[in-house]
Amino acid sequence: MEDKITELKNTARQLRINTLKAITNAGGGHYGGSLSTIEILTVLYFDVMKVSPKKPDDYDRDRLVLSKGHAGPVLYTALAMRGYFPLSDLKDLDKPLSNFPKHVDRLKLKGIDVSTGALGQGLSIACGMAISLKQQKKGNFVYVVLGDGELNSGQIWEAAMAASKYGLDNIIAIVDRNKLQIDGLTEDIMPLEPLKDKWAAFGWDVSEADGHDVASLRDAIYAAQKSNGKPSVIIVKTIKGCGISFMEGKCQWHSGNIDENQYKKCLQELGDGI
């Protein structure tokens, strides 16, 4: 167990470095919301999800809907590190006509289950997937990564009601609760709290985890898999821009670019090359 946690921590560290490099190479992008999802995607792709880069189209696989599609660079990097394609392909991020557009496109790349980018739509799609899996009596899970800002969207709550109605205990939603959205603090722009109570009132099993502690995330996801008859949501406390001192907790780093000196500082802080 200790070995697994250490391995996941190392993977997360490398995923953070590689993601930062990919975004910087593309001339900047969504640093903040990408860096807050690093541990979430690490635990999903390197521990809990039943997927195989050798059989990316295997019907009996778990699915991921990255509803906060702007964290695409993390998903690309995780897939590359998981062996879906070479890490060097990430040089094409954001390049015209490449297979790595800013928001993930399932038609361009094996391993992407759903093209996302317009916020608020992922949970409904996950519901459709989960309904199908249940109807076929398959035991796979559908994981959904939601931004907290996108919880402003009404469609999320339409989907939350449907997941509850249809008893979709094969959905595990993970809310990246970094408490920031483009214009400022989520609680200033459109307050979400009491968020746990909201999900619970919609009929969901609710838990919390530390979004930058792989052990905490892992425990929460495995516990959510045991939910019976109710969909699960894990509200994970994260830091937007996590790992980079000058980005952490600052909403202006939702999207941006960095200069050469800042880049060096980032790599130094992340311990690249150590």
Partner: protein, 327 residues
Amino acid sequence: MPSGARRRYIEMNTEFKQCAATYGTVLTELAKDNPDIFVVEADLMKASGTRTFMEAFPDRHINVGVAEQNLVGIAAGLAAMDRIPFACTMANFISQRACDQVTISVALNKFNVKLVGCYAGLSQEKNGATHISIMDIAIMRCLPNMKVIVPSDHRELADVLDFASKDTGPLYLRMPRVLPEKLFDSSYKFSFDKGYQINAGSDLTIISNGISSYVTVEALDELKKENIDARLIHLPVVKPVDTDLILKAAIETGAIITVEDHSVYGGLGGLVSEIVSENRSAMVARIGLKDMFGLTANLDFQLNYFGISVENIVKTAKNILIKKKNT
């Protein structure tokens, strides 16, 4: 003038039949042989007629309540699992309320979702402006990867449903509340690739689909009485459209009238104008809604009000022939 007869048909529903009957029955039949067909509803089973489907296949019938964005999203998720969802709600809601979900969750993803806009166009009748879809065809036609089909009678509707269940990719079916049970003779069979020339003619061409084809078929006799030799084309597939048939009509008749219970901006009128103007010189007159919302009125009143009538088609034909002669 047969408009009195038409009025009676519509009001008495003798010739016109609720599309819900065919939609529900045909999908239930198709689903017997195809275990992947799902029905997704948004609290409008009465309008779509899928209660029989729900009773036959309860685990393949999803009802999301009054939540059209979720309707489309859930259908997209089903399609992501290689299932074949038919998602139906009123044409205005599926094209307008859920427009971004149709765009991103369905069209961009190229998911195999069948979007069905029921109670489409003026067939909403007294529900009026809030419910009458006047831009669903224009919206759907703009979306990459989206096929758009507008059938005109129940036999064709059944054929389109069968086609949709076997075809792959996003598709929009515009389904009015009522359609004639059988508008075309038995030789006609729906073809995805071809428009249907109902009548050969050389003076001008009339192009229509949906409920308007019922009116244009009726107009043929009146045009004959006026010694106008009209070609009549029924164009159920708006996208991808049978461009050759339209251009042939433009070349051979030099004048085209489009008729639709939809905005002429971006609808059939817009479509035909685009094709003709890019390729040939021909007059195009567009009958339909011009910068107006639908009304609270019965179908017959609305069709007449917006000029989708035998009288207006004859009048428009006379005008366009004068213009054609003078150019």
